[in-house]
Symmetry: C2
Amino acid sequence: MLVSLLAMAPCAHAEDGYDLWLRYRLLPARWLATYRPVVTELVPGAHSPTLDIAQSELSRGLGGLLGTTPPIATQLTHDGGVIFGTPQSSPVIARLALDLPSVGTEGYVIRSLTVEGHPVTVIAATRDVGVLYGAFQFLRLLQTERPLEHLDIRSGPRVQRRILDHWDNLDRTVERGYAGESIWDWHKLPDYLDPRYVDYARACASVGINGMVPNNVNSSAFSLTTPYLYKLAALADVMRPYGLRVYLTARFSAPIEIGGLKTADPLDPQVRQWWQVKVEEIYGLIPDFGGFLIKANSEGQPGPQDYGRSHADGANLFADALKPHGGIVMWRAFVYSQQQPDDRAKQAYDEFVPLDGKFHDNVILQVKNGPLDFQPREPFHPLFGAMTRTPLMLEVQITKEYLGFATHLVYLGPLFEEVLRSDTQAGGKGSTVAKVVDGSLFQQPLTGMAGVANIGSDRNWSGSEFDQANWYVFGRLAWDPMRSSRDIAEEWTRMTFSNDPDFVTPVVGMMMGSRAAAVDYMTPLGLHHQMARDSHYGPGPWVSGGSRADWTSVYFNRADAGGIGFDRTGQGSNAVSQYAPPVAAEFDNLKRTPENLLLWFHHLPWDYKLASGRTLWDELVIHYTHGVQAVSDMRHTWAGLAGKIDAQRYREVSTFLGIQQKEAQWWRDASIAYFQTFSQRPLPAGYAPPEHGLKYYEGLCFPYAPGHAPLPESCSSTRQ
Amino acid sequence: MLVSLLAMAPCAHAEDGYDLWLRYRLLPARWLATYRPVVTELVPGAHSPTLDIAQSELSRGLGGLLGTTPPIATQLTHDGGVIFGTPQSSPVIARLALDLPSVGTEGYVIRSLTVEGHPVTVIAATRDVGVLYGAFQFLRLLQTERPLEHLDIRSGPRVQRRILDHWDNLDRTVERGYAGESIWDWHKLPDYLDPRYVDYARACASVGINGMVPNNVNSSAFSLTTPYLYKLAALADVMRPYGLRVYLTARFSAPIEIGGLKTADPLDPQVRQWWQVKVEEIYGLIPDFGGFLIKANSEGQPGPQDYGRSHADGANLFADALKPHGGIVMWRAFVYSQQQPDDRAKQAYDEFVPLDGKFHDNVILQVKNGPLDFQPREPFHPLFGAMTRTPLMLEVQITKEYLGFATHLVYLGPLFEEVLRSDTQAGGKGSTVAKVVDGSLFQQPLTGMAGVANIGSDRNWSGSEFDQANWYVFGRLAWDPMRSSRDIAEEWTRMTFSNDPDFVTPVVGMMMGSRAAAVDYMTPLGLHHQMARDSHYGPGPWVSGGSRADWTSVYFNRADAGGIGFDRTGQGSNAVSQYAPPVAAEFDNLKRTPENLLLWFHHLPWDYKLASGRTLWDELVIHYTHGVQAVSDMRHTWAGLAGKIDAQRYREVSTFLGIQQKEAQWWRDASIAYFQTFSQRPLPAGYAPPEHGLKYYEGLCFPYAPGHAPLPESCSSTRQ
């Protein structure tokens, strides 16, 4: 016995994060004693690819958590059986009155029942995928040390399409990716299926994600060529039994680039024919293909406006081709014209509100959480509530383009929660973004939520341990947009690290405060888009010039001797008018605008007095400083947790917190140094001046920062 | 006991190749019985970073192999102790007569002795790193199931600098890399040290590699800026205790690009001063910095000829700056001018032979194995033997740019062995390249061998299991250039997969035949450089045009109605004259030229009769076909090995062999289709025609093939 035990020792790899929240490590003895009698055998329904996966996940999970893998029984024979399946696959479940239709086609029921005289747990659903979701939920109960008695869980997703968007290029670079190269190895597909694809699908299914777009919205037409469709079909075959449908981005000009046509005009019959044939080809290979995600006429991408057509014309072109096959079009509302706008934040609304009602019924408009671009804080996007006859899906960014890349600990749950709970007041009070997204506000039958993935080939998937939580919380909120991000943080922490309350409580505290900290050290009080050009790595409030003003920081901060902030009131760009009247009135009114959005909506003098009685300038400095202090506090908290988890992950988090603190200080110091040239005011007493002069910060340059295409070494001459 | 055993189950990760040849899995019972009495305790010398590593590797290795970790003893107390250290660190070793100086500063002695009445094994060396090398060798004995009795092993490297060159860019793309992105995460350095760095250093040390160049020879001046030097220093700190020195490529024009100078002229005092200061800065951070690797005036890189200076002037500039610190310059001989040459294969010789004797003594010229560029087969480089007063190091390419990327099973040992054993006849018969490389032929005190690494972030490091063997064989041959590549293949197979002779014998057979197979299906009978443009992925014998003729296939194959092949005899480019007279006479003589180099040296009519009595055309077709058949045979062999190793690695190899067979067929068919347009001859009886017409093969285009910078979608219009 000794020998065989030790023989396994070399297999015991370090905890490197690969297992994500599906670690399934042995539970403490008291929980083993509690759980084992309740989980004595697995009683599956008939075989199907998805039910087999549910069974193998339960075996793997319970085997790990309980230290013994429950036997598979074809019939219930003991107390403590876990019966799982659908009414079609399981005769036992078929006989039970579980009201499965009420949880929908993807929902599940988990109940403690007595069946044939035995106390059992039933995991049941209308479709196989619901059983898989239920199996993961059941495992989660054990992973988070919850009671297994008297279970009566009924859960179904409130949002239909819960999708990860990968901004992954075909050469495996990842736009705004901070976790290594793309996990999709197109070159070796369709022959070679990296085992990682299965673990990706497992992780997605475990949080209820049911779709994925593997290629970048800045799309290559090549992904629509036949060889690439075969590659995609091979991926789809891996994803299918996990309930994941594949979608594809489509380059609007593909009929020209790979079709040999002279135009991509959406009203041209040849173009329409080309897309119809292409879509038929796709469905021939992938019968459950989800549809297209399209970025058109935005940031240089081709689109219908190139031919004098509207976004509706463009979207409907694809919708008509997809309709016979059940596919949908996710048309991105993140568009802005090549011309210099008076206020870039207004453009999506101006473009799309006039088109309300003109989209075919399998089009859903994909709207970013805020009107600009995934900033640390933005107000909710004014399109939410403004389009009553068009389905809108929410797009959030899981990858932290603007929130510190992989090395800053920033839990995005509170950001997502903030937007979902924002009240558009479009249908009176309580008309939250969540109610737009889940379709309840305007009775939309098509609903969705998309997250821009933070997944790459890094061993830990997301570039850092804590960034795994952002993948996790996206999935959980897409399933139920009204859940508390704190509850989800706790759940994730328990599954990923430890159930020890001395660990869970401080770590959840860190996570819940982390986004506010980042807002403070980067862009406090409603500032936005103040990062370095192109890479968005580090501060760049001085960024100006270049090809268009609305890609610069000075466009957004409007700092001058008179003050700082972007006037979007009726006296300014009047972006406030895009919101429902009660919301518009609030944002238009300096005194009623939430302080955390102050400079988003108002240009204010440096000496403007805030609620605290302090001047704007002083408050800015205090906020920046507070952000740095909050990171320092996180480091201190984490230092106190040494020994509570494995060494490798502990050390990685420690190192990254050290980087975060340095970079938070850099953000604070550079921002203060720059804005002080306008404010011409001293720092409040007791606040340290920036470590370096402004020239130093302006001179820093990082041409190889991750997440964007390599740049020429334009800044090299300033460096030694 | 049962519980704790099962608790480990979730840790038992699949065999994913990460452990390389250092797997240390439990040995069969009969070997345990044999080995355990001989390895009862570890008796280390005094602590040092390197000796601590040797100890931990022995503990880990023996613990895994034997199932019990031998205890550490401060003094010898039992029979079967393993004593390891240097005379300085171990009083026991200091008292033994081991003649350590005779194995050199990096060598080791492993001996079975009786010490203080106990039979023991001693692993001893002059320096700590020798002990580490010896520890790996000792483990290798167990891993390959060799006897541990009567050991009397004395081994020292025959080559001083055994270096991996990483063609890794600072943005983590890898030029000619097929194993994912660079493992060097420059962005997070110096703060974050990926645990993988340590495993890289372990693997290198285990095969005796003692240096690494982490950045591309097509270099960015940024790698010489202060922030990057701090990053490099952090890497060097990881590598140092494993006996690995870091080197750096240096961009010749750095004084302009990051130094603000107007020139990079190697004779300019300011330039010389700039490099001197830069080198001092480097040594301030990395006291054991190895030196520079430089590619200058080649393929567009800047260099001394930009200022009318010679390669010697350029190399000596760096040599003089490095000399006071003990650093060396590795100056690449892979140069060719921007002008169209009469024969590109002649250029390095023409450039460098006149400079023999002009390089300072810490310069070593780095010469590729053949005169062209890492082709499947080339004759040895004529510089070997031609420069008697200049140290030459051999550069081989471990990454398979021209040999099927990661998915073709091609063991490079026979290729490396072929060049090392080639006889330059420069000092009479037996003047092998190996004797040039190890310095013995011309009494060179500075020696080296460099391999272009095939390492990336892929979990299995090298992109495939079998490509790990190419990293392995490089290290082993650099240690001893006269070793048999077959022995090394067997050693590697045993360590990596299994000692089962029913597995080892057929797999070593596959490996040993694999390079010949690739030569046959790609470029038989001395053909060369026939691959697709830029990416080098797949066949492209028709490639012509573009910016320079000597980057095209037609330049090298010279196929026309009259025949095929590059005439390098006295009637042609006279490249043969660059070899020593007896070799030149052989290559100049059609009848004496080895058939496998025939078309390298001779342009021959299609009906030319070969030794077989068949025509050149028929032999070409037969060779191409034989190459495909050889891959098919490998698949068949591998299919018979199912169940002999773990499922995951077995499956990956199976899949890749399937890809290899498809691509071998593609190479054969495309090449035959193209050359047949000139030969206008039928295929020999029984040989199938190409599956498609020539137009089909010419139309194939893969803009996202790995290993080179992304290209514009120039070929997209031909594709659907």
